[in-house]
Amino acid sequence: MSSERAQSRAAWTFLSPALLLIAVFFAVPVIAAFLLGFTDFDLYALADLETVRITGVANYRTLLTSPLFWQALRNTAEFALIGGPLSIAVSLAAALLVNAKATRFKPFFRSVLFMPFVTTLVAVAIVWRYLYHPQYGLLNWMLGAVGIGPVDWLGNPTFAMPAIMLVAIWKGFGYNMLVFIAGLQNIPEDLYEAARLDGATPWQQFRHVTLPMLRPTMFFVTIITMVGFFQLFAEPYVMTQGGPLRSTTSLVLLMYEEGFRWWRMGYAAAVAVVLFLVILSFTLLQRRVQREAIS
């Protein structure tokens, strides 16, 4: 009995540094963000807190009538809903290649393909900015060789977002690839053997054995990837500053600009709350889809 009390006391002692830090530097700020969204906290308030007024839903009303907000929301949705699935597809394809029975030097390919994931996003975004250079960029030079004529990747509102997607996919696919490889290795080999005995083609095996068996992995990967993609920031900050014509301004970039450049922190908090709601509803939706797929 006393040992149990000792354990309980020890548990709280061990937990307290982490819980305290999380409470003060995470939980309280989250709650405060919601409250901040209902105020007109701005540059003057930074100097003198007395000037803050509670303005109710005024920030949200402004938000809903702001074309820039809608554009940022659309851009973020486009980036996440197209780029996210593409990124997952690339990861899965790479995982199938690396994990194929005939593949040699598996550890080598695994590590090399994973490498972009560990690099610094800001640094590689700068590298890609030059790879995308309309005149001297490597990408246009390669496309030119097959007769596709110079594209102003980052200067054209149509191409800027796809160009940023490509960078995000390049940077991120290695992580999901590893997760998929782990998932693939957990699929019992006899399932494939049985499918082959039934005369299943490789595609049928993929459709009816691999994909269903990967479902838990796929759920994890989808959530992690989409949540990450909704948080787009560094690529447009470094590569396009949100342009051209605001075509790459994301919600987080909008929050950063409003909050930390113009110090309209109440308004920026409203943007942050919207980001949270977007991510939350996506995750809940995904969870529901997952549950329905199981039952």
């Binding site: 548990a11 999380i22 989250v30 930074l46 593949t103 610094t120 700068i126 490597l138 782990a182 957990n186």
Partner: protein, 272 residues
């Protein structure tokens, strides 16, 4: 037929590998090119007259050494502190019996859904009140206790046999003693994974340091690099050298410790 398939398989792997490494190789190569020579057509792949001038300018005039130091200090402190704090918490949730355990675990799981950007505006104001804006602590503190880290440790610590801990208790070892001399050695593999993970995340982090480090004496490398790239847009080769300096340490850490890291990612994700 089978041989053809193997060849195609490796061709596809080769293309994917080129896709993955080409940007980094070009970055490295261009960093050695004399000023202006990357901006020619067709774009040169290999420096014809390799030079170290950009590295010299970066470490001399532009004082990149300072940012390198800042980045290392922030990343190493965050990693050390986070290992300690998260391992205690993760172990406690996994192995110690206390009443609110499930509630703590569930609350933390729910909090995982909240994107960290939501905290940033109030956190900035809070740290401003505490006088920590533009300080190393301001950059380090939010990275110390992470729910992800706690869960990673917990998942692994679940595998520690209870008998091992109970035997130590019977022998009269204190709970801290048990954590320090029995648990920590057992969970070493996952500590290594968490260490690499935290170090890389902290080194590569951009938005938070950008917000909290306002004076360029305190900039970490990514923040400094982004700011330099605004001023030196035209200096491709210089910027590539800056990118190399930023990326090289994390690539080195990864290459040295990739075994633990890759295994950790694969295990953690499958169970988690």
């Amino acid at each position: 037929m089978n041989r053809l398939r193997t060849v195609l398989l490796h061709a596809a792997l080769g293309v994917t590998t080129i896709f993955a490494v080409a940007p980094m190789l070009w970055m490295l190569s261009a960093s050695f090119m004399p000023t202006g020579s990357a901006n020619t057509f067709p774009p040169p792949l290999i420096p014809r007259n390799p030079t170290l001038e950009h590295y010299r300018v970066l470490f001399g005039q532009l004082a990149v050494g300072r940012y390198l130091f800042n980045s290392a200090l922030v990343a190493i402190s965050a990693t050390a502190l986070s290992l300690f704090v998260n391992s205690m918490a993760g172990y406690a949730i996994a192995k110690l019996r206390f009443r609110a355990r499930d509630r703590v675990f569930r609350t933390l799981s729910a909090a995982l859904l909240i994107p960290v950007q939501v905290t940033m505006l109030p956190l900035f104001l809070l740290l401003k009140q505490l006088g920590l804006v533009n300080s190393y602590w301001g950059a380090i503190i939010p990275a110390i206790a992470t729910i992800f880290g706690i869960f990673l440790i917990r998942q692994y610590a679940l595998g520690i046999p209870d008998d091992l801990l109970d035997a130590a208790r019977v022998d009269g070892a204190s709970e801290f003693r048990i954590y320090w001399s029995i648990v920590l050695p057992v969970i070493r593999p996952i500590l290594a994974t968490l260490a690499i993970w935290t170090f890389l995340a902290s080194w590569n982090d951009f938005l938070w340091p950008l917000v909290i480090l306002t004076d360029d004496q305190r900039y970490t490398l990514p923040v400094a690099l982004a700011s330099l790239s605004g001023e030196h847009v035209m200096d491709v080769e210089l910027m590539m050298a800056g990118a190399v300096i930023t990326v090289l340490p994390v690539i080195a850490v990864f290459l040295l410790l990739q075994r633990q890291y890759v295994q950790g990612v694969m295990q953690g994700s499958v169970k988690g």
